[in-house]
């Protein structure tokens, strides 16, 4: 567990008032002259702390919810064992075969196209897009993915970005199968990183590094440049910034919403009966996650392409982000929580504590003067 650092003040600007969301129902504005009791009675503050210790909305977002075990009696257990044999002994090798075949086809077509058609950019890009969509389809087939797409397919127009809720890196593959998006992602190590720097680079993908605070300015500039270009692949952004367990949404980062272009929301909901698609990056590597998917029965999900939204007059980017988050959460049946996903990696800024201190201090001083 790496040491948590206090979050950079830059992140503060991303958050609306958390107080609006936190449970504080029992704390009414105290009235009347200040007495000893009012200073010594710390029960509301203690209750809030104990409430957070017992259950808190942030940790709930990242809890893996494996499907209920159903193999618990004498009749179902042999059936389940048979299922395991089928999944691991038959389906898995078959899927590995399909995936390997897909990679062979992809790589044998991609490199010639990439190198030989260097001059003819338009054709090359078109073919590369088609090939990426192809390999993603192979990936989806390797998990027996049953994906239902609802709504109009994304079109290639400038000055638009697509935003979606984030459950796992496979979200990218699920969406990429239908449309070759350029996505903005965290740079990963290992074989994923290799794929990122070679193939995904050609799609126009943008990389960022969560731990670099200066990175943000560079990334914003790259985003702006990308959306201006008419020939660039449509840009896909996951504004939550981290994988959430597909029951909740965390706060959207405003970066995608202050580019001055149309935002097209996409909602993704996985059906948990078949497999829990949440990638708990703290518990599993991506390779393990993929293997888990490949040894399950199927990955079933719904993808909704929702109505494009624009910044309303008088709306701030944060309000815009919240509005779009609302649209996506309602469509996919997710609950909203008021936390920044990056709190997985850093602690909340002292500003929130200070706000509480300020409100209590003001109340004390005010009541001191009352008769």
């Amino acid at each position: 567990m790496s040491k948590l650092n206090t979050s950079n003040s830059e992140f503060d600007l991303d958050r609306p008032n958390i107080e609006d969301y936190l449970p504080s129902g029992s704390i009414q504005e105290p009235r009347g002259k200040l007495r000893l009791r009012d200073l010594l009675d710390i029960s509301p503050t203690l209750t809030e702390a104990a409430g957070a210790i017992v259950d808190d909305s942030f940790t709930r977002c990242f809890k893996s919810n494996p499907p209920e075990p159903w193999n618990w009696n004498v009749y179902l257990f042999p059936l389940w064992c048979l299922g395991v044999v089928v999944r691991y002994g038959f389906l898995f090798p078959l899927r590995v075969l399909v995936l390997t075949l897909g990679w062979i086809i992809f790589l044998s077509c991609y490199f010639p196209v990439h190198t030989l058609l260097k001059g003819n950019d338009k054709l090359r890009k078109k073919l590369e897009r088609g090939l990426v969509e192809l390999i993603c389809s192979f990936f989806v087939a390797s998990w027996t993915g049953v994906i239902k797409y609802h709504g109009p397919r994304p079109s290639m127009r400038p000055r638009q970005v697509f935003v979606a809720n984030h459950t796992s890196m496979i979200d990218f593959i699920v969406l990429e199968q239908m449309t070759a998006f350029a996505v903005i992602m965290q740079k990963h190590p290992g074989w994923v990183g290799l794929l990122q720097s070679t193939i995904l680079e050609s799609l126009g993908c943008i990389w960022f590094n969560r731990s670099e605070s200066k990175d943000r300015g560079i990334v914003t500039r790259k985003l702006r440049e990308h959306v201006e270009g008419a020939d660039n692949n449509p840009l896909l952004i996951f504004p939550e910034g981290t994988c959430v367990n597909n029951h909740y949404t965390v706060m959207f980062k405003k970066g995608a919403f202050e580019l001055g272009c149309t935002v097209c929301p996409i909602a993704i909901k996985y059906n948990k009966i078949f497999v829990d698609a949440f990638w708990n990056s703290r518990k599993q590597s991506f390779t393990m996650h993929l293997l888990q998917l490949m040894t399950s029965w199927a990955v079933v999900c719904d993808v909704w392409y929702l109505e494009p939204q624009n910044l309303k007059p008088g709306e701030t980017p944060i309000e815009f982000a919240e509005r779009v988050r609302d649209i996506i959460s309602v469509r996919a049946g997710l609950k909203k929580v008021p936390w920044d996903g990056y709190l997985k990696y850093s602690r909340p800024s002292p500003k929130h504590r200070e706000r509480k201190q300020q409100s209590f201090a003001e109340s004390v001083l005010r009541r001191l003067e009352e008769k």
Binding site: L36, R37, P44, A49, D56, S57, E354, F360
Partner: protein, 175 residues
């Protein structure tokens, strides 16, 4: 109740229930155990300060430091006993005792002016000057009949904050 196993036996549950004076039901204890294991990510049998601070709702609480000191190194049984003051079955006495313990940082059964000032500082931060804080505390103490150098004991706390209006309850989610 091993650190390695995530299963509580019936004996374990009863032992914990005994230790917290039956303020939690057995189902609540099981839920609390799941929560304990969820927070104790490295599985060493107690929740470290870092692990508590990874709960944002806890980290923004003004009394977090004081509570971290009280929660430091508690095993599950002690963790449940700590939370027992927040159960709906806890008596008013138990709740006041908990508040008293938060104030009494040196644990000598007496709360001094400075100990009260410490808590007031945590609650108000930089928004009241140190001088003003002392003045406010001295004034309300005197109005309640206590001199500035009085030492308050638990019975005093019971008199001051202990009445039926004291709300200090937390619900343990039970699946």
């Amino acid at each position: 109740m091993g650190n390695t196993s995530s299963m509580l036996t019936q004996y374990d549950i009863e032992e914990v229930q005994e230790h917290c004076n039956h303020t939690f039901s057995q189902q609540e204890i099981v839920s609390l155990y799941q929560r304990f294991c969820q927070l104790d990510r490295n599985g060493c049998g107690f929740i470290s300060a870092d692990e508590f601070m990874s709960v944002p709702e806890f980290a923004v609480n003004p009394l977090f430091q004081r509570l971290l000191r009280m929660l430091d190194g508690l095993n599950f049984k002690e963790f449940v006993a700590f939370l027992s003051a927040f159960s709906s079955r806890a008596s008013l006495q138990q709740k006041v005792e908990f508040i008293f313990k938060v104030y009494d940082s040196d644990g000598n059964g007496k709360v001094t002016f400075n100990e009260m000032l410490d808590i007031l500082r945590d609650l108000t931060g930089q928004f009241i000057s140190e001088q003003q804080r002392e003045k406010v505390l001295t004034r309300v103490l005197e109005e309640a009949g206590y001199a500035k150098d009085s030492l308050l004991v638990q019975a005093d706390f019971m008199k001051i904050v202990g009445n039926s209006g004291l709300k200090m309850e937390v619900e343990v989610p039970v699946d």
